[in-house]
Symmetry: C2
Subunit: 234 residues, 2 copies
């Protein structure tokens, strides 16, 4: 016997009452380890959906979502299928429904609190960078060793001494640390951040960090991006 493809209480497009079963799906999904590539694409879908919502577009198909990012429609549907059923056959997806569902899955429906460690060129540029706010990301504080920077602020973000790192990270309930420190201290700083209970690091330092398995590190290495491009020049 074939199992039904949708919950019995079928809900009309635009309703939010499908949210409860989804959470369960999401939890199950998390256990069977979703590929990181899928998560990245989810975040890209979210960006498109936000644009569509801003333009008051009510519905979107996997086809058009895919086209605006250069993917295939099958990939969009497969990615979403990891987490549940969000569309209506023959109709497509409700933009605002899918948007909220994806935000919930990614955890950006609540505030994500980040701290920037190292207020050099890159660090302080990020402090003033406006692109985070609309993704529910809040830069709460920054740290540096330079006595001239400590106690000042940039883009509304205060810079504290590295001496107070652990206690402030904990008190401020920081979720993610952005590392923009010199290469020779990166591992030490990472160790301290992890010891303070942080489990997500965005690392701009060109150094491979050794961290415990529960800690996630995302690398952003500008020189390597350029070097990769360089290969393809003729």
């Amino acid at each position: 016997m074939k199992k039904s493809r949708r919950n019995p209480e079928t809900v009309p497009l635009g309703s939010t009452s499908r949210r409860k079963p989804l959470r369960q799906d999401a939890r199950r999904a998390r256990i069977e380890q979703i590929p990181k590539k899928v998560i990245k694409r989810l975040s890209l879908y979210l960006r498109v959906l936000r644009n569509l919502e801003m333009n008051s577009v009510p519905r979107v198909s996997s086809q058009s979502l895919a086209e605006s990012l250069g993917f295939t429609s099958a990939q969009v549907r497969k990615d979403l299928a990891y987490f549940g059923q969000f569309g209506v056959p023959g109709v497509g997806y409700s933009v605002s429904d899918l948007l909220h569902n994806l935000e919930h899955i990614l955890g950006t429906d609540r505030e994500v609190r980040v701290a920037i460690i190292g207020a050099g060129n890159l660090g302080s540029a990020l402090m003033s960078y406006g692109g985070f706010a609309r993704h529910g990301v809040r830069i709460v504080m920054a740290f540096d060793t330079d006595i001239h920077k400590i106690g000042t602020e940039r883009g509304g973000v205060w810079i504290f001494s590295m001496d107070s790192l652990e206690e402030r990270l904990q008190a401020a309930e920081i979720d993610i640390a952005i590392l923009t420190v010199p290469a020779d201290v990166a591992q030490d700083v990472a160790d301290r951040v992890v010891a303070a209970g942080i489990s997500g690091i965005l690392n701009f330092v060109p150094v491979h960090l050794r961290v415990p398995p529960h800690v996630r590190v995302q690398y952003v290495d500008l020189a390597i991006e350029i070097e990769t491009l360089s290969y393809y020049l003729r």
Copy 2:
């Protein structure tokens, strides 16, 4: 009959006379399309090799190269095999030989000339960012529309008017454009840059760029990195 695994005129470790056959290999490789992931790892190997050379380490095995980056030794050997034979069985790789070979393959043995389009927070941080120089990357010029910024410099890089974009990119023989402009003009700027003959773009703007097939775009999307991390927080 089995074909010999190495050139007849076997050269001792440390010699550079193996370079000529390599170029041929590299060219063949380029035709049968190397995966981009391989190119990225090549660049990571290069980083480790530079550290080893700085510490006067003469030789390295695929095993130790892999360990310092969290890869497997098989992957290191497989990646290198796309481009030729660089090691000596039972001995390993000459650090300086492999380093120079990889630089040649990636094209960072010659100067890579880049321009930064958009001298906002991020753009001007990159202008002062020191991390590029040791990779043979030279930030030659920057562009902006702000009359107050035009004619000034930052980190030794001059800011020019966007009006002169095409002619200056060409005159200065720019290889790669770094895009740090507002989202709503990103596609327009990309079109102009491409029309000026640029075929490599490093894009910091959270917008999917539509470019001709010969143009390579690398995306660096900070908000998406954070959103991806956010998913993994508990």
